[in-house]
Symmetry: C2
Subunit: 471 residues, 2 copies
Amino acid sequence: VDSTHLQKLIDIVGRENVLTEPSDTASFTTDWRGRFKGCCAAVVRPGSAKEVSEILRYASTHRIPVVPQGGNTGLVGGGIPDATGTAIVIALTRMNRVRKVDVLNDTMIVEAGCVLVNIQAAAREIDRIFPLSLGSEGSCQIGGNIATNAGGLEVVRYGPMRDHVLGLEVVLPNGDILEDILELRKNNTGYDLKQLFIGAEGTLGIITAASVRLYPRPHVTATAFCALASADDALSVLSMVKQRCGSRLSTFEILSKLQVDLVCTHADVQSPLTGSTPWFLLIELTDPDKDAPVEELLLNVLSDAMESGMVADAAIAQSDSQKESFWAIRHRVSEANVATGRVLSHDTSVPVSSCAEFVRQVESALKDQPSMQLSFVGHLGDGNIHAVAIFDRDRVSAKEFEVRASEVSSIVYDITRKLNGSISAEHGVGVSLRDKLPGHKNPVELELMRKIKRLMDPENIMNPAKLVTLN
Amino acid sequence: VDSTHLQKLIDIVGRENVLTEPSDTASFTTDWRGRFKGCCAAVVRPGSAKEVSEILRYASTHRIPVVPQGGNTGLVGGGIPDATGTAIVIALTRMNRVRKVDVLNDTMIVEAGCVLVNIQAAAREIDRIFPLSLGSEGSCQIGGNIATNAGGLEVVRYGPMRDHVLGLEVVLPNGDILEDILELRKNNTGYDLKQLFIGAEGTLGIITAASVRLYPRPHVTATAFCALASADDALSVLSMVKQRCGSRLSTFEILSKLQVDLVCTHADVQSPLTGSTPWFLLIELTDPDKDAPVEELLLNVLSDAMESGMVADAAIAQSDSQKESFWAIRHRVSEANVATGRVLSHDTSVPVSSCAEFVRQVESALKDQPSMQLSFVGHLGDGNIHAVAIFDRDRVSAKEFEVRASEVSSIVYDITRKLNGSISAEHGVGVSLRDKLPGHKNPVELELMRKIKRLMDPENIMNPAKLVTLN
């Protein structure tokens, strides 16, 4: 990017909002796990949709690649520029206002740079919740959550990010501002354009604001930790809990024994259950009715499940601190795994009914891998179980890990494909999975994706070579 | 369409599935209310996606306009061919199989021609529900429900049709079959292409099958009919019920006094409440937990609402027959209105919080219309209140009605626009509202819709001149 370009960017957003010093841009060109490292001509921090519009109009004219970035908490390299240094990073950080709260409509209009916890807090202030709940909620931004259709811990109850979006304000690559940001629950006046940008990972435009749905605040909670003999039993319990508890069910997480053991060993956490069953569940019910006997309901359902042999043992949290200790087991998985060895995680989904088969096939296919442990953890209610391969750091070098990781992933993805699953359930494609897409999506789908990309972004400036390649 | 074309169509689907006699095609070229009358070269009834593919490939090559049709229950003329007689109607009636039921995954794969009640019944057979619920459910087809993103009576709880679709099989205008029909709750591998076809009213391709979500079957129900002094009170009650009952709330319908009176007069139905308050609510709670005290909960909430003066009077159904009699008031609205006079209904939505303002402004703007009564009925929980103008049949001729209807609609749509609403909440655009779209959507949106239409359907064969015009 030559100095004319830089001056133009400065004219648009002000000198203090164009960063070019490597020490200033470093945190924008590497992801937080340090797995992707790029380079950029500048980091630009616009303060309004109008400024974003001027930047994109200029970038389109001069074919300057643009990488939009939210909280930089992604896992697939979607927000990191490539190594050429030709791109500008557009950081939405300054656009962090809650523009509007409408209590009777149960909606908010938020700017893309709002950090997720701040949106959650703004909702609680009016006795509502915004139900997206992620490990990175303290730093991820809603624009990124929308661009990646983020999932998390309560999708079984509330659905993914897509389900919370009522409208979007998006700047198109040519600088046009698409104002599709009504706050309506029903609107059948043509193609639902906003859907295109949700999950598009910044390849079709830059989301600058969104109208989102809020939900009633739960007033009672019941949390259980259960031990089970098999993943098939876990599916039976899930079905039973869903049918009897309905939308009280807000979390249904599964963990393999190894996973719980690793957390207890490395993260200073205690399991409420002893014994040696191979699977555990974290189940939570919530209800906005303060008198709802959710604990009694959960107890009844789990008692019946124990009687019919689906559940081996169960504990229901009797206090907030006990509830937190159950949750700690789930929350500290990543930390424990990283402390254990070199971690290769997968973000696949299959139909819920195929989850036990998925686990069996992955276990069987990987059982002879040397110096590697295999754990499972994830969102059984969504069919989204992360298969985690952890390699012994002493026996598998960083270089060897790369080779082995690629082999193991191929095996997991093959099984996923045979079970009609997805190789990216909630993390997106970015750079990590881009080249695997052609093996997992059919040619008609891929070609239509490319056609839409070319239509919307004819100069291919928007996050180029992320998600989909053009050729 | 010349005889070569007809022979080709016969080759594809068989002679018995190509109708050309006017007596055979008549029911496909007129809508059920008799408001749209067209003409067609043939009605073609394919039996598989492959046959649809061959038809569209041929139609694209020869630029033959194609009008897809489901149960022909639409309200905006979207499924009726124009008067030129050049188009072929593609009726999906023969594609009516439930291809797959997956109990543990809570999903079904259904073909486009499945009638909605049959899908509801197939779900009930496995102790689940498919929650789309419409007046026309006995004859509308799921393909049409998806193509129009149908709404109905339980959107406040379950969302519109879009929310139930996990995957689609769609034949594109060039004959390619887009197999985006996985049964996954999470899949972030690229643009969510299926969203384009939901609500596109058959202008981008023909939906031939869908994977859809099922939900737990409710086992208890509580139904109330309430009398209120104002629409503002209705909003307060809605908010209270939502916050305290959560997703137990499955229906929240509003009716104006005139509307209830008309039903009681013309449809042989009795209101459970006497008195002269201007507004009524039909509220239903459901719960899959058979022991859930939904009646007690509803009673408590309504008692509190009465104490604080929001509700003037209320009755909770004490038996199934009483429940049915409450619902009869809602279900027989159309019948009563048609018996009363010449009916002009609107399908607008506004933010829920603006509903009282919407009603006030419409009432005020139309108060001096001679020989016209104004009623309101609809889905307050979705911000979707149908304003219904009923003209005295003796004083307003059919011809005069046309002129007056256009004036009145303009007034209603202007108010809707000013309140950031939509002129089509759930019925779609079709022919009826097509020419009004440019006044209600911004140019960037409209232009992007046209670009997508041109991209997907370059020969403009798919339901041409419906929803969006190209120029």
